[in-house]
């Protein structure tokens, strides 16, 4: 088993779920119009991936092989509903803004992918770190995307005006296609920077 530091850093850099594995694209287009929403979404995904991985890892020796995907799904669904309920109680406006996308974390391939690929074959502690780090890798990218989209699309950051009053907000930036263009640029930059990621 790789050491913990590797487990933690790999999903953030060389094995980043968005820029390298290209998972979780749908939600990263949808929730990155504003930084605040993106931060809450990032936090939600971190908690869901981390805790689901931990629970599945604890259960890994008891889970019947034939129904393991269903068990994983039940655990992930539980976490997603819990996060949604907590947000509805304590951060109602943000939950409304994120609307269906919190519920859709369950369909985010990162969560199930990490449980299937890592948590079922590793001890609880590394699994928690792996799930947590994958959520973080996802979160960092959507926060970067949201930073540019809110700055250029609305002239604000966290709802505060930062660009001079004369700045005309760019409507294209608000629309999902721009997020895809930006994401493409980030993937390009990541690959240009890390030669190991380039295929021959």
């Amino acid at each position: 088993m790789a050491n913990l530091k590797e487990t933690f850093l790999n999903p953030i850099l060389k094995g980043n779920p968005i820029t390298v594995l290209v998972l979780g694209i749908c939600s990263s287009l949808a929730v990155t119009v504003e930084l605040k929403g993106a931060c809450v979404m990032a936090l939600s995904v971190i908690i869901v991936t981390g805790v689901s991985s931990l629970i599945c890892s604890l259960l890994r020796k008891t889970i019947p092989n034939r129904v393991r995907i269903i068990i994983q799904l039940v655990v992930v669904a539980m976490m997603v509903i819990l996060v949604d309920q907590v947000l509805k109680a304590f951060a109602y406006t943000i939950d409304k803004q994120l609307s269906v996308y919190i519920g859709l974390i369950i369909t985010n391939c990162i969560v199930m992918g990490r449980i299937e690929a890592f948590a079922l074959g590793n001890k609880p502690w590394p699994s928690l770190v792996d799930g947590f780090a994958n959520g973080l890798g996802y979160g960092l990218i959507i926060i970067v995307v949201a930073f540019f989209r809110e700055l250029l699309g609305s002239g604000t950051l966290f709802g505060l005006h930062v660009l001079p009053a004369g700045y005309v907000p760019n409507n294209l930036v608000i629309l999902p296609p721009f997020a895809l263009i930006l994401l493409g640029c980030i993937i390009w930059a990541h690959r240009a920077f890390d030669k190991e990621l380039q295929e021959k």
């Binding site: 119009v33 259960l59 020796k61 008891t62 889970i63 019947p64 092989n65 034939r66 129904v67 269903i70 068990i71 039940v74 655990v75 669904a77 539980m78 509903i81 819990l82 309920q85 907590v86 509805k88 109680a89 304590f90 109602y92 406006t93 409304k96 609307s99 269906v100 608000i174 629309l175």
Partner: protein
């Protein structure tokens, strides 16, 4: 132990599902009061927004306190404009969305209904509207001046309209801003208050521009407004004539 046997699999799955259900039921029960309070505060802030109040929306308590300070009374009306119930304004009692949905069905089916109207101390009265947008329900509040048929303001919300298109009924201040200064006209055969595609006719006081690119949402909202305003006709007409 054989973890692949049939009995083991069935029992294991059952236990996991029951455990998860228990956790969720517990969480839902504990968080419900907080969630309800949030929903109620949001509805109240929408009513206040429609009535063009400037208020501190930073916390639920601030919203409720402002509402209690400024509300005069609120009651439930039937088709004839008769009062069939009162809302306790000291407790900031309001009619929530699920109830509006039920009343919307009553209005459309021609059944008896009891729909709310809120009177503020400055004389402004607010009525809700509810209907179907493109993807889900749309609703909102229209504030009317103390006398006559003038509209003070309006606020709309939706469950799942497309952001940037139908979502503009909520997100675009310019859309709801159109309503202030317009008026409702019960004598107009076409609509009491219309949302008109291609732009409101020049000089027409009871029409506003629809949202381009959001025809179905605009139509749905237009229907919601007219169905509900008609439901208040018994009461409002009486007010207008006086």
């Amino acid at each position: 132990m054989n973890t692949n046997g049939n009995i083991y699999t069935v029992v294991y799955t059952a236990i996991i599902v029951i455990a998860v259900a228990a956790v969720l039921a517990f969480a839902s029960q504990r968080l419900k009061p907080l969630q309800d309070a949030n929903e109620k505060a949001e509805t109240i802030s929408q009513i206040l927004n429609a009535a063009q109040f400037e208020f501190d929306a930073s916390s639920n308590d601030a919203i409720l306190a402002f509402y209690k300070e400024n509300i005069s009374f609120a009651m439930l009306l039937d088709a004839g404009g008769e009062t069939v119930g009162e809302l306790n304004t000291e407790e900031a009692e309001i009619v929530g969305l699920s109830e509006l949905k039920a009343q919307n069905a009553n209005i459309k089916n021609g059944a008896d209904y009891a729909i709310p109207i809120y009177f503020f101390k400055n004389g402004v009265k607010v009525v809700p509207i509810y209907g179907a947008g493109l993807w889900g329900p749309v609703w909102g509040y229209i504030a009317l001046a103390p006398q006559g048929s003038e509209i003070v303001g309006a606020y709309f919300d939706h469950a799942s309209e497309t952001p940037g298109l139908g979502g503009k009924i909520k997100d675009d201040p310019a859309f709801r801003g159109q309503f202030a200064g317009k008026s409702v006209d019960y004598a107009d055969a076409a609509y009491i208050l219309g949302i008109v595609k291609g732009g409101a006719p020049e000089g027409k006081a009871n029409a506003v521009d629809a949202i381009s690119g959001a025809t179905m949402t605009s139509k749905g909202l237009d229907e919601a407004i007219n169905v509900w305003l008609r439901a208040y006709a018994g009461f409002l007409n009486q007010q207008v004539e006086e």
